[in-house]
Structure formats: structure tokens, C-alpha cells
């Protein structure tokens, strides 16, 4: 039964993602903890790691806000179960909501009623990408409320330039990021319109902490924005410290000459992102985000 198999695989990805941090995020927090010198900030890092230990020991979601789920699919054009994938994601979400358990987050628009099972209209949110081959890659992101709040995008006039892009990132992080459980993972998108910049900023968030942009100018800009944000000393939970952010990742698309849109999406210290590779016959799968 491919339905049951897919549901069970995706549900197990949700379980791991809710309880443990991905390897790269855990390592980046360890590094920041080791480099921290301020007393209160050091204590807060101790609280963070104590919580991570307890979550694993008690097998519970490490943060109570397990988010509204967002799935980013890269499906091989010849993956044989494309027709049941969406349904399987919805069923797996309901299953994991019960079994992990996940918090009931999805609220239907206008009635503002909580559905009680984390599914609803277009929820979980699914982004599709068709790639060559016959296997399936899924990234899941647990979009918590606190770290979704600072997100925004804006269409700049091109003469505002990349200076305008940088300023938009700094304003967003200093104004709202402080409340979004720093040290943040910062995703920046650059494109033509508000929508493309926003989605690229989310894709930037899905890139690993510590990964380097393939484009040398973007890599420079990532490094310089990170250094600039770190010099502000926002610290863990916004209570000051020697650093501010885990990383700044930029993703971009060729844009209209008359617009330069920028989007910012942030992930909290507890950025919960899970990645899985699934074979065409569903016989084997590997969670690649967690060790």
C-alpha cells in the first residue's frame, strides 16, 4: 500500500523534526555558545541546551510551537507516486499531530476556528519543484508564529540598490527579530516582486547554516551582513550578547530592470527543518538533516 508507506515515512520525518534540531543548526548553536562571553547570554545558552537534552530524553517537541507545516517538494518527474503525495502529506500531518504530539495550530480563515489536526485549506502549504529522475526529496519546515512575525518583503526602486536591500534586512532584524528567539537564521530573497522575493527568502532559510553561496558576490554580501548584524550584539533571546545571528543566506532570481524586490524570512534559534530522500519504490529512505 503506497499510501500507508508514504504516510508513515513522512510522519516519522515530522517526529524527528519536532524533537531534534537539524545537525547544522545544533552545531552552529554550540559554536555560538562557545564564543559567548557575557554572563546572562551564557546562562541562556545553558537553558537552550538543557531544553534540547530534555526534549530528546523525554521524546517531546523541543518547542511547543510546532508551527504550521510547510513542505518543499523536489520530485523526480518519474517518481511513481506523485498522484498520492499531497494526500499522503495531509494524512501524515494528522497522524503526527496525534502521535508526536504536535500543537494544534491551523486555524481556518474568517471563522477563525482551530481545525484541531493541523490541516485546513492549503494547509500544510506545499511548494512543488519537478526535477529529473524518479526519486523524491522533501524539506519540511515548522513555521512557528514567533519567527514568522518578522517576515516581510518590499519592492524597492532599483536605484535604492543593494544598499536598500541591506538596510531592509537590518531594519527587519532590529525592529522585530529581537522578539523572534535569536540567534536567528536569516533568509534573504532578491527578485522582481514581493512574492518572488518572499519565497526566495524562505528557500534561503532552507539552506544549511554555514553553507556558502555559490555566487561570490552573494557570498560576500552574506558575510558582510552577518558581520554587521553581529556587531549589534542582539544575543540569545534578544537579551544582548556578543553575536546576533546564526547565518545570513541569500537566494536570488533575475529581476525586472525597473524593480528590485527584497524579502526577509527568519528562523528562530530552534529552526526546525527536516530533509528526507525517498526512493521511487518507497523501500528506502534517509533523513539527511539529522544525525
Amino acid at each position: 500500500m503506497p499510501h500507508k508507506k508514504l504516510e508513515s515515512i513522512i510522519s516519522s520525518l515530522l517526529e524527528v523534526t519536532a524533537i531534534k534540531l537539524p545537525t547544522d543548526v545544533y552545531a552552529s548553536l554550540q559554536k555560538m555558545r562557545a564564543e559567548e562571553t557575557q554572563t546572562l547570554a551564557c546562562e541562556l545558552y545553558s537553558c537552550i541546551f538543557d531544553n534540547l537534552d530534555k526534549a530528546e530524553l523525554l521524546h517531546r517537541p523541543l518547542c511547543q510551537d510546532t508551527g504550521v507545516l510547510q513542505f518543499f517538494i523536489r520530485a523526480g518527474a518519474h517518481f511513481p507516486h506523485l498522484d498520492i503525495l499531497e494526500e499522503s502529506i495531509f494524512t501524515a500531518t494528522k497522524l503526527a499531530t496525534e502521535s508526536v504530539p504536535l500543537r494544534h495550530n491551523t486555524v481556518e480563515c474568517f471563522t477563525e476556528k482551530n481545525t484541531g489536526n493541523n490541516t485546513g485549506k492549503l494547509s500544510p502549504w506545499i511548494e512543488w519543484e519537478i526535477i529529473p529522475g524518479d526519486d523524491l526529496h522533501i524539506d519540511v519546515y515548522m513555521a512557528g508564529g514567533g519567527c514568522s512575525l518578522p517576515g516581510r518583503s518590499k519592492v524597492l526602486m532599483p536605484l535604492e540598490g543593494y544598499e536598500g536591500v541591506a538596510k531592509f534586512v537590518f531594519d527587519t532584524i532590529v525592529d522585530w527579530g529581537v522578539n523572534a528567539c535569536p540567534p536567528l537564521v536569516v533568509g534573504v530573497g532578491i527578485g522582481t516582486c514581493a512574492a518572488t522575493a518572499a519565497i526566495l527568502s524562505k528557500k534561503a532559510l532552507l539552506r544549511k547554516v554555514g553553507s556558502v553561496n555559490a555566487n561570490p558576490q552573494a557570498a560576500d554580501m552574506e558575510r558582510m551582513i552577518k558581520e554587521g548584524l553581529d556587531s549589534i550584539g542582539i544575543g540569545p533571546l534578544g537579551l544582548t550578547g556578543t553575536k546576533s545571528v546564526q547565518c545570513v543566506n541569500i537566494e536570488f532570481a533575475g529581476h525586472h530592470p525597473a524593480t528590485l524586490a527584497v524579502g526577509v524570512t527568519v528562523g528562530c534559534w530552534a529552526t526546525r527543518r527536516g530533509s528526507i530522500d525517498i526512493s521511487a519504490d518507497l523501500a528506502s529512505y534517509a533523513i539527511t538533516s539529522h544525525s
Partner: protein, 205 residues
């Protein structure tokens, strides 16, 4: 830690009037969750929970709770939520309920700071995201009200022991730690941008 400063409910003015922003305290006693919908119900609809909040504490949080058939509820995971969302309602909430300690994450604004000063109350932050630690500091869920809001928004009443660390972010004099930090962050931001902007002038030439 032997020098934990523990505040026990019911909380009197004297218990908290000497606390200053940046102080770290722990809470023992009764704590109820209340966030967006609960604040709106109290402030807009003038409806109050049966549990009297006078001298008590609230936590801006939407927990994960497991129902144990025949045995009540088990707290699974309960970290604080963003307090700033409640800014528009908090001052009136404090005035109407007599709540003494409001716990959440991140800072609150000038209206709440004025209410803390006027009504002798505190805003404190619990380290955001540390939700399993917080759950292990909940001894028992003793009540549930406003279940119609759904699990995260409902009014969960808990007995807690040494709940913390809680960092005082607004004290009873109205001093506001996050607002003070923000002034510093803004200054440093301007300096960082001044240094950065000359290096990101990417153009076709």
C-alpha cells in the same frame, strides 16, 4: 543554585516592588496561560475566567497538552509566545484583572510599562523556545477554561514550582529592559550600516 529568588503566589506589591530590570526570579504557585484570544475576551467582551487572577501570574503561551483519559491533562511542551502581540490589550488586562506578573518572550511597549508602574506589576521573560524545560516545571494542570478557543489559545491553569528563569523586563517603576536595549541596538545598527553600505554598491557600472 542556592541563591534562587523565588516569588510565590498570591503575590503582594511588596514581593515585587524592589525587583529591577535584568533581575532573575523563579515563580512558585499558580500560573495561567493567556494570549491573544483570552486578552481580547477580557478587554473587549469584559468576560473573565472563573479563576481569579488578582495577585496571580499569567504566561503568554500556547502549550501542547496531552489528554489522559480519566486522569486529566499532561503538560508536554510549553514555551512562551511573543508578548508584543498583546501590547494593545495588556495595560487594560492588568488593570481589570489585578494580575501581578505577566510572563512571555521578547519585550513589551510603553503602554504596558505604564501599566506596570501604575498597578505595581512586572513583565518577565522566560527563555523562548525552552518549552520542555518549562513543562517539567509544571507540577499539575489544575484547570481548563475557554476550551472553545482551541488548545493553544485556551486558558490553562497550572501549579508550577521554581518556574524560570524569569528575567524581569519591565519593573514596577516602569523601566523597560528591551526598550533600553533597543536604543543601543539602533545606534549600533546605524554604525554597522555606515560601514557596510559602501561595500554593497553592486551595479553594471
Amino acid at each position: 543554585m542556592t541563591d534562587k529568588q523565588i516569588i510565590t503566589t498570591p503575590i503582594s506589591n511588596e514581593d515585587i516592588s524592589n525587583l529591577k530590570i535584568g533581575d532573575v526570579i523563579y515563580l512558585t504557585g499558580m500560573l495561567a496561560t493567556c494570549r491573544d484570544d483570552g486578552h481580547r475576551r477580557v478587554v473587549e467582551s469584559n468576560r473573565f475566567p472563573d479563576f481569579d487572577l488578582k495577585g496571580m501570574s499569567i504566561l503568554h503561551a500556547g502549550p501542547i497538552v496531552k489528554t489522559i483519559p480519566g486522569a486529566g491533562y499532561e503538560m508536554i511542551s510549553i514555551g512562551p509566545t511573543t508578548s508584543r502581540r498583546m501590547e494593545a490589550y495588556e495595560s487594560e488586562f492588568i488593570e481589570k484583572t489585578g494580575v501581578k506578573i505577566v510572563i512571555g518572550k521578547g519585550g513589551m511597549g510603553a503602554k504596558t510599562a505604564a501599566a506596570c508602574k501604575a498597578f505595581n506589576a512586572l513583565h518577565c521573560v522566560f527563555p523562548g523556545g525552552c518549552a520542555v524545560t518549562a513543562a517539567t516545571e509544571v507540577e499539575e494542570i489544575v484547570g481548563l477554561e475557554w476550551a472553545d478557543f482551541g488548545m493553544p489559545e485556551a486558558f490553562w491553569i497550572m501549579r508550577v514550582k521554581n518556574f524560570g528563569p524569569l528575567i524581569v523586563s519591565i519593573d514596577t517603576k516602569g523601566h523597560n529592559l528591551f526598550e533600553l536595549n533597543k536604543i543601543e541596538f539602533e545606534k549600533k545598527k546605524e554604525l554597522a550600516l555606515k560601514n557596510l553600505l559602501p561595500h554593497v554598491h553592486y551595479s553594471h557600472g
